[in-house]
């Protein structure tokens, strides 16, 4: 055992490094504390609102969803990345050992983070002296988390059998699509097996009084719990977990999950190890480089855009992120509009002409949160010294980054509104909303990179560290979101007045234009001073 452990720790420590900047560390801790506090509040609310079985069921559901998302996200940078290949290939270590270390290290962060969020649950169960439920939670939650991680890693590892025939970009896209597809299939399986009627799910949702809201949420949770309880296999797990006392059946379920998890682990290791060398060589891309087209004109802005394009093209992961930024908002828009079309949405949120506004703000927030604007300087990575030592006009560099991410955002926003029109919802007011959303997205893109501009994290080993795992993302949200939140609150607030809806949107558009001009003046001119 002594000789087997260092390798997983090598992968874990190289994949999840603690940021060097104290401000970033503090922010990460605060963010984690915030999530724990929020989870604690939600837990207390559900614990008091519903019966213990329902509470335990939702705890399992949230934990599984969380660990699934984290694994889908982090597996790309640990298990299915071959960054270590150059270092490992020449060492006398079997591919199975390398791969098993990678798989084990991929478990660590998702399970650790999800487990931290169990603290409020355990405290509540101790507080309520629910000893059997407490013991079962301690035993079952880690089991289900490991099972979820191993199931996903195993299924995704099957793609790696054909990795050598795929480009890195295609492999990343396939991974993302598969992760999403597995989740969608699972939800569809629950919906079809339980005969859950989505149209009736929200039918009597009421927001008239506080107690009616509580009652509505309670009914909704109860309906979902009952429906999932009818699904074969899930039914057995829910029963043994939510029943009082610890039965032999519970222990058997535990054993079965661990056994299957072990098989999935072995399967994942084997399917990854079998082509490790070929896949590693393919990832290293030692064979050929496809020549990129270059801008040949004399326009200075053209050259700045050219450089930004080169940075985005330098990593397949960045290209995937751009692609996701463009398609995610239209995909969510289709989902939202379909849900409304099928009357699955609670009408209380959408009546009185609110649908357009709700849609506009969903489009705005999703396109901003998924945009490439938050960490464009960190993305430079090893090219960042070029940005510092070559005579670049830093104002133009900054504006190029803002415009580039705004163009990507604009594509996703405009296509979402085209879909909105195709569904037959468009009005003249929709055009005003498009303008408003585009302008708000631009102001977000102006503000979001400000922290990253001053403190870029360029020493990343894996491109995912430059984008989503980059703590600067939190700062980009802190810089960018407040303006959007304030203006959206003002906009919805105006709806409550007698002001016509078009006029209120017009007023918001004027305010956003003024904000954009002010922010542009303040931020763009600061770029050259910061570059000193």
């Amino acid at each position: 055992m002594k000789h087997r452990f260092p390798l997983p720790f090598f992968f874990a420590s190289s994949a999840y490094s603690i940021p060097k900047q104290i401000a970033v560390r503090v922010t990460l801790l605060l963010a984690l504390a915030y999530v724990v506090v929020q989870m604690a509040m939600v837990n207390v609310a559900i614990y008091n609102m519903s019966a213990l079985p329902i509470y335990l069921f939702y705890n399992v559901a949230v934990s599984i969803v969380l660990v699934y998302i984290l694994t889908a996200y982090f597996s790309v940078s640990v298990v299915f990345s071959y960054r270590e290949f150059g270092l490992m290939a020449s060492l006398p270590v079997k591919p199975q050992r390398i791969v098993s270390a990678k798989v084990i290290s991929s478990l660590l962060l998702p399970i650790l983070l999800t487990s931290i969020l169990q603290i409020p649950v355990l405290v509540l169960l101790v507080w309520g002296m629910k000893w059997a439920a407490l013991l079962k939670t301690i035993l079952l939650i880690p089991t289900l988390l490991v099972f979820t991680v191993m199931l996903l890693v195993f299924l995704l590892s099957l793609i790696q059998l054909w990795r050598k025939h795929l480009t890195t970009m295609a492999s990343l896209v396939l991974n993302g699509v598969a992760s999403l597809g597995i989740a969608v299939c699972f939800i569809l399986w629950i919906v079809t097996s339980s005969k859950l009627k989505l149209t009736t799910l929200w039918s009597d949702f009421s927001m008239d009084t506080f107690s009616s809201i509580v009652q509505s949420i309670n009914t909704l949770m109860d309906r979902i719990y009952t429906a999932v309880g009818q699904v074969p296999l899930l039914k057995q797990v829910i029963e043994v977990y939510t029943s009082s006392g610890i039965s032999l059946r519970f222990l058997l379920v535990l054993f079965l999950f661990w056994f299957v998890s072990f098989l999935l682990y072995q399967g994942a290791v084997q399917s990854l190890a079998v082509n490790y060398l070929q896949n590693g060589r393919a990832e290293m891309g030692s064979a050929t480089f496809k020549k990129s087209k270059a801008y040949a004109g004399d326009n200075e802005w053209g050259r700045y855009f050219q450089r930004e394009r080169w940075v985005l093209q330098s990593e397949p992961y960045f290209k995937l992120h751009v692609l996701l930024s463009m398609i995610l908002t239209p995909v969510v828009s289709i989902g939202f509009l379909l849900a409304d079309h099928k009357q699955w949405m609670p009408t209380v949120f959408l009546e009185g002409g609110r649908l357009e506004m709700v849609f506009a703000y969903i489009v705005l927030f999703i396109s901003c949160m998924n945009n490439t604007s938050g960490t464009p300087y960190s993305r430079e990575g090893k090219y960042y010294p070029l940005l510092q030592s070559l005579p670049f006009d830093q104002r133009k560099v900054y504006l190029t980054k803002v415009l580039f991410s705004s163009m990507i955002g604009a594509i996703s926003i405009i296509s979402s509104f085209v879909i909105f029109a195709l569904f037959g919802y468009a009005t003249v007011h929709s055009l005003m909303l498009v303008a408003m959303v585009l302008l708000l997205m631009f102001s977000y893109n102006l503000l979001a990179p400000l922290y990253d501009r001053k403190h870029p994290l360029t020493e990343w080993k894996n491109p995912s560290e430059a984008i989503k795992s980059n703590p600067n993302v939190i700062f980009s949200l802190l810089f960018g979101l407040p303006l959007l939140l304030v203006l959206s609150a003002v906009h919805f607030g105006l709806l409550l007045t007698s002001l016509p809806v078009g006029l209120s949107t017009g007023a918001v558009v004027i305010v956003v234009v003024l904000c954009d001009l002010l922010i542009l003046k303040k931020t763009a001119w600061g770029a050259n001073e910061e570059a000193v």
Partner: protein, 233 residues
Amino acid sequence: MLTISNLRKSFGAHTVLSGVDLQVEKGEILGFVGGNGAGKTTTINCITGILEQDDGIVSINGVSKSDSLLYKKQFYYIPDTIHVFQNVSGLDWIQFLIPLYGEVDEAKLNLYTKRFGMETSIHEPMGSYSYGMLHKMSLIAAFTIQPPILIMDEPMNGLDPNAVVTFKECLKEYVQAGGTVFFSTHLLDVAEKICNSITILKDGQIILHEDIEKLMAQGSLESIFLEKQKHEA
């Protein structure tokens, strides 16, 4: 030309540069030598803007580092490890760089490309270049741009013998045309032959700055370097 005054830089509690003062005159080829960890790269990084110094003044041709854009037009920097956009051809990259400094002189670009034997490979993506080819490509860019001062970190690493000869010729022509060179190296015999002045850095301080002719009168650069290191210790 290049003026460095009281340059200080620390990383946390670790002081790397503790008051570097240096003056490099026009037409000078300055060899910047020192042991590992002496602070050579940190000094270069402070000069080129990659690092911000804690204290001190850096200026080129009277242009202060605070005038970022104009200051950076005064030099071209070739680092030891050259990071390139892998799918971009060498030619596209050079043609991207030159307009940042001034007009593109195609004839000059073609001339240097030919002299460094890169006529064919300059059209290939830079990801396919060897370490030496990347240095050649950077040298082509540097000599085509002809900045007032050329800053290089181990510029001869990876160059084949033909390229080393071409490099020395180009360097001589560049200096005759009014250029200035500041380069760090561990190759003392090369520094001895190319440079007209030497600066030795130790523990973040300059312990020697002298004309090469005066130094040569005292013995080989290698023996002087070793003696200085021992003496200062």
